[in-house]
């Protein structure tokens, strides 16, 4: 029994890490409905920053966090600039553009930082195992319990309570009518992508010790984030948190319980969960054209 304890706890920590990694995508895709396939690349910017700047001290970690956030936010803003001149703003066009940026940006990052996985040094205080109910457990992973809670709370508040949050949701429904209220939809989009970049950059810096910078980082982060965001029901932050925890447990506890099925677990669970939910929504005919 206790053999499953550590995986179960780890599932939580890993799930929260994924939520943090996905936060930027939760914001721009889930909430603001802008499909950003360069999300993983924004994360990688943060992660590379951490590899370059953090040297094992707290000060440099904070510095890395600041620089990573600014750099990724800048990249997010740039992305918004790239998206702006395109007439149609549907998901497939966004996918085309942002995927192109991700491809090109990925090679630029590799050109700048080399094709190797880079080491990331964190303060010794957290870079060690701590005893968790008698089992040694990587202390740094527990950090994500706090970070995820902070990000989830912040996002939820922003989206539901602030004027900016209302504007973002309104722009998803009808950008023209938002404009008719005197707010420029372009500015909303730039704001969203910049904020999403900042979130991704922060996640990249903090997540670097676990999902470290390397040529494959962007893809891994993007894929897991997409899974989490879509499974979370697109837009609900609570739902995304639950989805992240679910994916975390599937990847740890599920693997521990059904090791033989491990390669199939995540995607099988995802396909079935999404299909069941879609069917559940569809049968009583969800949409009504009044």
């Amino acid at each position: 029994m206790s053999g499953y304890l550590i995986p179960a706890v780890d599932g939580v920590a890993y799930g929260l890490l994924m939520f943090v990694a996905a936060a930027g995508l939760v914001f721009c895709f889930g909430v603001a409905d802008i499909l950003n396939l360069a999300h993983g690349t924004l994360y990688a910017i943060g992660a590379y920053t951490a590899a370059r700047l953090a040297d094992g001290g707290w000060a440099t970690l904070v510095l890395a966090l600041a620089v990573g956030i600014v750099a990724a936010a800048g990249a997010g803003g740039l992305l918004a600039g790239l998206l702006a001149p395109v007439g149609r703003r549907d998901h497939l066009t966004q996918a085309l553009l942002t995927f192109g940026v991700a491809l090109a940006g990925g090679s630029l990052l590799v050109a700048a930082f080399g094709p190797e996985n880079l080491p990331v040094r964190i303060p010794a205080a957290v870079d060690r195992p701590v005893s968790l109910l008698g089992h040694p457990y990587a202390a740094y992973r527990l950090v994500f319990i706090l970070v995820a809670a902070a990000i989830a709370g912040l996002l939820q508040l922003t989206v539901t309570r602030t004027r900016a949050g209302m504007l973002i949701r309104a722009a998803v429904d009808d950008a023209e009518m938002v404009a008719a209220l005197g707010v420029s939809p372009t500015r909303i989009r730039v704001g969203v992508l910049t904020a999403a970049g900042a979130l991704a950059g922060a996640a990249g810096v903090l997540g670097a010790p676990i999902i470290g910078p390397g040529p494959g980082t962007a893809d891994v982060v993007l894929l897991l984030s997409l899974v989490v965001v879509v499974l979370g029901g697109l837009g609900s932050i609570g739902g995304t948190l639950v989805a992240a925890l679910l994916v975390g447990e599937i990847q740890t506890l599920g693997v521990a319980l059904l090791p033989g099925a491990a390669p199939f677990l995540l995607f099988a669970a995802m396909a079935v969960a999404l299909a069941v939910r879609a069917r559940g929504l569809r049968l009583p005919v969800p949409r009504r054209a009044t």
Binding site: T93, L96, G100, A275
Partner: protein
């Protein structure tokens, strides 16, 4: 459905020219290019099946690699063990692709938009994983090679050169695409377009929409299956890497670039993207991703029309997945759908 006769004549003659050039190509270029083109055509055919779902039926897919793989392995197994006749292999591929689609229909047809994208992605990944582990049939991740040469029909000579393999591929692709186009000119195309536009309205008019979507999904599966079998012939080798996520992503983007609620656009787009990737990899070793990425960004600007046609049509569906109303056309007000799904 209404095209002026003059445009029709123009279109037909353009098509004729393209066909003539396509047939003449292997005599104009070297073997490398011929082999490349054959492979590219195959992927173009998968692109057609992607467009059939994404553009026409409004089910954006990242999972057509699944029936594609099924068709490929069906063809490969036949080729290795018993059958070297092309049509038999193609038929087997079509059946295998459709069968795989049939097995996954309930997962796909109730979902919409991005959710479909993720479900099909999962299906594709599961099939690739399974293919990598089912070594006795698929040869595992190292793949299968060394197939006896194919003969298109009983009594015809075997295809043992790049040129003949290309021509065979071309012939099959042309036939399949023609069949798809003809089918879409019937009411089927009309119904799928309507389903994509507003399926609740289609239901309210008495149409069994789910059945239509299932049929489209099966048909697309069969087309991808045929393409899979062709891949075995054109490439002489299959491995799970042929059906990976990169392939699905490139095909989807190719279809987007092609601007393809139109099948022909999708074929062109997919062919373009794959050819660009292969060509760039060959010409600029190491910089291909950078250039390809830049190419994607550029096409979005240079061909807003191509990208736009499909986007306009699918935008609505993408949104309806989350119970949102379709994007408002710049002019007219669009309906504000209510949704219980959100409640």
């Amino acid at each position: 459905m209404t095209v002026s006769p003059r445009r029709r004549v123009l279109g037909a003659s353009l098509l004729g020219v393209i066909l003539v050039v396509a047939v003449a190509v292997p005599w104009l270029v070297d073997d490398y290019t011929t082999a490349l083109l054959a492979r590219t055509l195959v992927l173009g055919l998968v692109g057609v099946s992607v467009a059939l779902l994404t553009g026409v039926a409004g089910l954006p897919t990242l999972g057509q690699t699944a029936p594609y793989a099924a068709g490929a392995y069906a063809g490969a197994v036949l080729a290795v063990h018993t059958q070297s006749v092309g049509v038999v292999q193609l038929l087997a591929g079509a059946v295998a692709g459709a069968a795989l689609a049939a097995g996954t229909v309930p997962l796909v047809v109730y979902a919409r938009g991005v959710v479909v994208l993720m479900i099909t992605l999962a299906i594709g990944e599961l099939v690739v994983t399974a293919a990598g582990r089912w070594r006795s049939v698929t040869g595992g991740t190292d793949g299968l090679a060394g197939f006896p040469a194919v003969r298109p029909l009983w009594g015809l000579p075997v295809l043992d050169s790049d040129r003949t393999r290309y021509l065979y591929t071309l012939a099959v692709v042309v036939v399949v695409v023609a069949v798809v186009l003809l089918l879409l000119r019937t009411r089927a195309g009309l119904l799928l377009t309507a389903a994509r536009d507003d399926e609740a309205r289609l239901r309210a008019s008495g149409h069994p929409v789910t059945a239509y979507l299932s049929a489209a999904y099966l048909a697309a599966g069969a087309v991808a299956g045929v393409a899979g079998t062709l891949l075995v012939t054109a490439q002489q080798y299959v491995s799970p890497a042929d059906f990976g996520f990169d392939t699905s992503a490139l095909l989807l983007l190719g279809v987007v670039i092609g601007g393809a609620a139109s099948i022909r656009g999708a074929l062109a787009g997919a062919v373009l993207v794959i050819a660009a990737r292969d060509w760039l990899t060959g010409q600029f070793p190491g910089s291909a991703p950078l250039l390809l990425g830049a190419l994607f960004v550029l096409t979005a600007y240079l061909f807003p029309k191509g990208v736009g046609t499909l986007s306009a049509a699918t935008a609505g569906l993408f949104r309806s997945a989350a119970g949102r109303r379709p994007a408002a056309a710049p002019s007219g007000p669009a309906p504000a759908y209510r949704s219980e799904a959100e409640g």
